[in-house]
């Protein structure tokens, strides 16, 4: 048997073959005999009410079973609380079909259920809806008079925190910059559309295949809203075709499919269209002001960071935008402000690196502006203000290898050869620019449980109700479990995306690898202990006095650490003792007390080269080096993919992504993938990822900090800074399209 050392190895995805051969099934791909299909009718207005909804023509078609709307919705849970999913922001969650009121454009107003999808889609065009329309308010810029400070208990939200005396320090500073930044709305646009397939079982219980980042969250929502016992609601989500935050909250297709299944006592599938993917949450439009005061030699004295953003009229969506300005650099005086405007739109929704993608962009562009004003190299300016300890909480970092990221990234990129002068490098019609930025994200560990079952044929199954949204959770669970028990990868099966598995949190915040990885480690340790006990029970066992730390598990054997030839095969051990299966459960709780003494974060240094056509303004990002400090890397291949994806997104965010709202209609107009631009292959050239590993058992016992979001943070700023270096033009609005450079 080959070595069973897997952690830290570039193992290919264990589910890769299933995915590329189509065996991996997604929520919309499950079928049942007699499955019904639901198609959602979306509102054509942003604000007002439905005066008339006539489904007669649709209902007359043979094969159309029902048209659900506010007119015939059965009585459901009454309290707001019942509609609050685990990741809901403060306020009153949207209730589909609640009444005739229209709160946002493309609000679902009816669900047509028919025997076939084609019929349902046709019938949906026959549902006549009349509205009494009011003028919608959807522009952040035009409604800054209505800003207010949100009070929200959304999980992970931290109120902005000022320190020192910004104003006095800013006034005295020898060098000052003040800038305003803006970015438009962005939508997640995962490849897979949101879908729920609800199997109605004979006893009335439900088995639901849902597109979600947390099966337990969907299960909780369904049981609360429909008053069902959790026993009777099983939610599965074995594969997710990307989510990026869009699957954190149960979306309305889940509500609708369940409603129809319960009412019609049949299995029902509801799949949203690409257009409808623009109807339930986005990265909100944000305006930011950053002011920085520094000494002549570049020491930061004062930072002010204010962010103004949008939310719906019914919930306070909040994110940590300005907070980063208090955490990234050593600076005694920091003032932060974060305010919202309520608009006639659906509540925004966490999107990859929520808050940081936005806030760090503004801060890191401002740092570049300051560097130019001071005539100091942008990297040098950051080093001069390096935060040795986390300044807003005044705590040491559990680990922080950012300095090494700067150093290794700069070296790989060739930063030392940079001529700081804007417009100094030309190649034919192109101006070439180099820019850099810092990134920062949280390292989190959430309470998580896992099970493990070892059978006497040497097969191990580990499970937890977590998700794999394309990130590689299956793979790292398998790697950890295989290494812990010294089994070949093929002998290990990881289970996830099933609400009958033990507790795990929604896959978000880059916490999954640390949380689930620790739980799997713990549960495998328990199996290890059982196996050691069995080995010790034999007569004259050479393991008699061994403790767990004195043994290893490798190549299918339990061995003495001091003498690896003293070994017993796991399968023999179980068979000799007539044991068919060993089963264990474990709970991994973060060590809160210990953790609370430290700031736990990931960091990155991003270096970018752009080519900008001098006359035409077209921009190409030709080279990126991203150096990442994110603790221990469980799998450099899947981790690198996460960073690559983040960098691609950062480029896309900097140059392309923008969902534009027509404020007359309060409607996003480019709601399709032809007109909502995300980066395509031709936009992406060389991306180089460096991992600077950190030893950090505070962030999580297995040393993992998470890589899901850090790859994106700072990239858009590095691109914008490179564009400035190339052209001498500071574009403070994202996306930076070519017209802004003409």
């Amino acid at each position: 048997m080959a070595t069973t050392h897997y952690i830290g190895q570039p193992t290919s995805r264990v589910d890769g073959r299933a995915k590329v051969t189509g065996q991996a099934k997604y929520a919309a791909e499950f079928n049942a005999p007699g499955l019904l299909h639901g198609v959602v009718v979306s509102s054509a207005i942003a604000k007002g009410k439905i005066t008339h909804l006539d489904a007669n023509e649709a209902l007359q078609l043979e094969g159309v079973l029902q048209v659900f709307s506010h007119q015939n919705r059965p009585d459901l849970a009454w309290l707001d609380l019942s509609y609050k999913d685990m990741t809901a922001p403060g306020g009153s969650p949207f209730r589909p079909f609640y009444d005739e009121k229209i709160l946002f454009n493309q609000q679902p107003v009816a669900l047509v259920v028919a025997e076939t999808f084609e019929l349902a889609r046709y019938a949906a065009t026959l549902v006549r809806v009349q509205y009494e329309s009011e003028e919608p308010t959807t522009s952040l810029e035009a409604n800054l008079d209505d800003l207010y400070t949100p009070v929200s208990f959304k999980l992970g939200y931290q109120k902005p925190k000022s320190r020192g005396d910004f104003k006095a320090a800013f006034d005295q500073a020898t060098t000052r910059i003040e800038s305003e930044y803006y970015h438009g709305a962005e939508h997640h646009n995962p490849m897979e559309m949101h879908a729920s397939t609800v199997f109605y079982e004979e006893n009335g219980s439900l088995t639901i295949y849902d597109k979600t980042q947390g099966v337990l969250n969907s299960q909780h929502y369904v049981s609360m809203v429909f008053g069902l016992s959790k026993k009777n609601v099983r939610v599965l989500s074995p594969f997710v075709g990307g989510a990026f935050g869009s699957g954190l909250r149960p979306q309305y297709q889940l509500f609708m499919a369940v409603l129809a299944a319960l009412e019609l006592k049949r299995s029902v599938k509801v799949v949203l269209t690409r257009q409808q993917m623009f109807s339930f949450g986005h990265r909100p439009v944000t305006m930011q002001q950053v002011a920085i005061g520094a000494t002549f030699d570049g020491k930061l004295e004062a930072i002010r960071h204010a962010a103004y953003s949008e939310t719906s009229t019914f919930e306070d969506y909040v994110e940590n935008i300005v907070n980063w300005s208090g955490m990234m650099y050593s600076c005694p005086n920091v003032e932060q402000e974060y305010k919202l405007v309520q608009l006639d739109m659906y509540t925004p929704l966490d999107m990859r690196s929520p808050g940081a993608a936005t806030g760090v962009h503004a801060l890191e562009c401002a740092m570049d502006e300051l560097a130019y004003k001071l005539n100091i190299d942008p990297l040098e300016l950051r080093l001069r203000n390096y935060a040795e300890e986390e300044p807003s909480e005044e705590k040491p970092f559990s680990s922080k290898a950012l300095r090494e990221c700067y150093q290794q990234g700069a070296e790989r990129f060739g930063w030392a050869n940079r001529n700081p002068e804007p417009r100094s490098t030309k190649d034919g019609t192109a101006l070439i620019g180099w820019g850099m930025a810092t990134g920062m994200w949280d390292a989190m560990q959430m309470p998580t449980r896992a099970t493990a079952t070892l059978t006497s044929d040497g097969k191990l199954t580990v499970g937890s109700a977590t998700a794999d949204i394309g990130t590689g959770t299956y793979t790292i669970m398998t790697q950890i479990a295989a290494e812990m028990l010294g089994l070949p990868l093929e002998n290990v099966t990881a289970q996830l995306g099933d609400s009958s598995l033990p507790l795990a949190f929604v896959e978000g915040g880059s916490a999954t690898a640390a949380s689930v990885g620790t739980a799997v480690t713990y549960v495998c340790e328990k199996i290890q202990k059982k196996l050691l006990k069995l080995a010790q029970a034999a007569n004259n066992s050479p393991f008699a006095k061994a403790k767990l730390k004195d043994v290893t598990f490798s190549e299918g054997y339990l061995r003495l650490r001091s003498d690896a030839t003293v070994a017993v095969s796991l399968t023999e051990l179980m068979q000799q003792n007539s044991i068919n299966t060993l089963e264990e459960k474990a709970t991994a709780l973060p060590k809160l007390l210990k953790q609370s003494k430290y700031a736990r974060n990931t960091h990155s240094a991003v270096f970018v080269e752009v080519r900008v056509d001098e006359a035409l303004g077209s921009i190409l990002v030709t080279r990126v080096v991203s150096a990442i400090a994110a603790g221990r890397i469980l799998n450099p291949k899947t981790a690198r993919s996460q960073i690559l994806g983040g960098v691609v997104w950062g480029i896309s965010m900097a140059l392309e992504e923008d969902t534009f709202m027509d404020h007359t209609y309060g409607r996003f107009m480019n709601h399709n993938l032809a007109e909502y631009h995300v980066a395509v292959n031709a936009d992406i050239r060389d991306i180089d990822v460096i991992f600077v590993e950190e030893q950090d058992t505070i962030a999580s016992p297995i040393g993992v900090k998470g890589v899901g979001e850090i790859g994106l943070v700072g990239v858009s700023a590095a691109v914008a800074n490179a564009i400035f270096h190339a052209t001498g033009k500071r574009v403070r609005d994202l996306p930076i399209t070519l017209d802004k450079l003409l």
Partner: protein
């Protein structure tokens, strides 16, 4: 999506017969890459589809005059990579390959490309008024988000653009469109094929509803030595043009003997101005000459709040395209 019936036409005559029955509200379907999207969005609702993909209009042949005849059902991909097209009409190949994606070009046909409809967001979204989709309801784009809209030849009723790349090259090459109708064949010069919106924005072109495009004829002159197709867009691939330029020159040393200039992404049809081209004849091939032509063709250009930039962008793109044509850089 509405419900519809479907038939597959045996031959050209049958196709024309089948589409003609008015009560059918029939449409031809070729690659389907545009029509199906529009049907799914409820923008178009034909009650009958005549599938023309089996018609024998799928060849590329030499014409007696020394040009090339492109069958209406040859795919965009096969056309672009066709040896004769690539060597004699590289401008056309480049324009086609600047459009859409490989998958789409494999499905899309030459006839369908001419007939593709605007990408105006409002046209595509039945929740908003649009004169092109529903005459008389108003134009949402004029006071709405008009970044991708026209700057030339607009009317108060519609400011949409024709989105094709291929057609810009065809306009520059002065192709002819051969069509068959109930009353026989006719040929339409490319300049007369597409229309300006005027007060009938619902009409994109001058093809009659019961006419079938059978072929596109390229005249002998292909400008293989000095041409350029320059497309400016919001990402490097798979995006429609904000502005595109087809530029072609015949040179005698440094002197321009003949010039062609067509713009895409700026009007309801590929935009040409014979006077702008005439300005170049006899001039030396310099930036100054190209600037003059650019000024001329953009005379009368009018921007809207979100697309003002297109005027300056087009001016610079024209100059660049001609400069590229001199050296035939990609």
């Amino acid at each position: 999506m509405n419900s519809f019936s479907y038939s597959r036409a045996r031959d050209v005559a049958a196709a024309v017969d089948e589409v003609a029955l008015p009560e059918r509200q029939a449409k031809f379907i070729a690659g389907g890459t545009n029509l199906l999207d529009l049907m799914k969005e409820n923008v178009m609702h034909p009650r009958h589809l005549v599938d023309i993909t089996h018609l024998e209009l799928n060849t590329i042949e030499d014409t007696l005059e020394g040009g090339l005849r492109l069958g209406a059902l040859v795919t965009n991909a096969d056309t672009a990579y066709h040896e004769q097209v690539d060597t004699r009409y590289p401008l056309l190949s480049k324009a086609i390959l600047a459009g859409a994606s490989p998958q789409l070009r494999n499905m899309a046909t030459n006839g369908g490309n001419l007939m593709q409809r605007t990408r105006c967001y409002y046209f595509y979204d039945t929740a908003t008024p649009c004169n092109k989709r529903e005459p008389g309801t108003g134009c949402s784009a004029i006071r709405g988000f008009n970044r991708i809209h026209a700057i030339l030849g607009t009317s108060e009723h519609c400011i949409a653009t024709h989105p094709s790349d291929m057609c810009v090259a065809l306009a520059a090459l002065e192709a002819k469109v051969h069509v068959r109708g109930p009353h026989g064949d006719r040929a339409i010069p490319f300049a007369d094929f597409h229309r300006l919106p005027g007060d009938t924005p619902e009409l994109d072109n001058n093809l009659q509803p019961d006419e079938l495009i059978t072929a596109i004829e390229l005249p002998p002159q292909g400008f293989a030595d000095h041409h350029s197709y320059l497309k400016l867009r919001d990402r490097t691939s798979y995006a429609f043009a904000l502005v595109s330029v087809a530029a072609a020159l015949e040179l005698d040393g440094d002197t321009i003997r003949e010039a062609r200039l067509a713009l895409g992404g700026v009007a309801h049809k590929p935009w040409r101005d014979p006077e702008a081209e005439a300005l170049l004849i006899g001039k030396s091939a310099t930036r100054e000459s190209f600037q003059l032509a650019a000024e001329k063709i953009l005379q009368g250009a009018k921007g809207f709040p979100y697309n003002e930039f297109k005027i300056e962008l087009a001016r610079r793109a024209i100059v660049r395209a001609f400069e590229q044509a001199l050296t035939n850089e990609k």
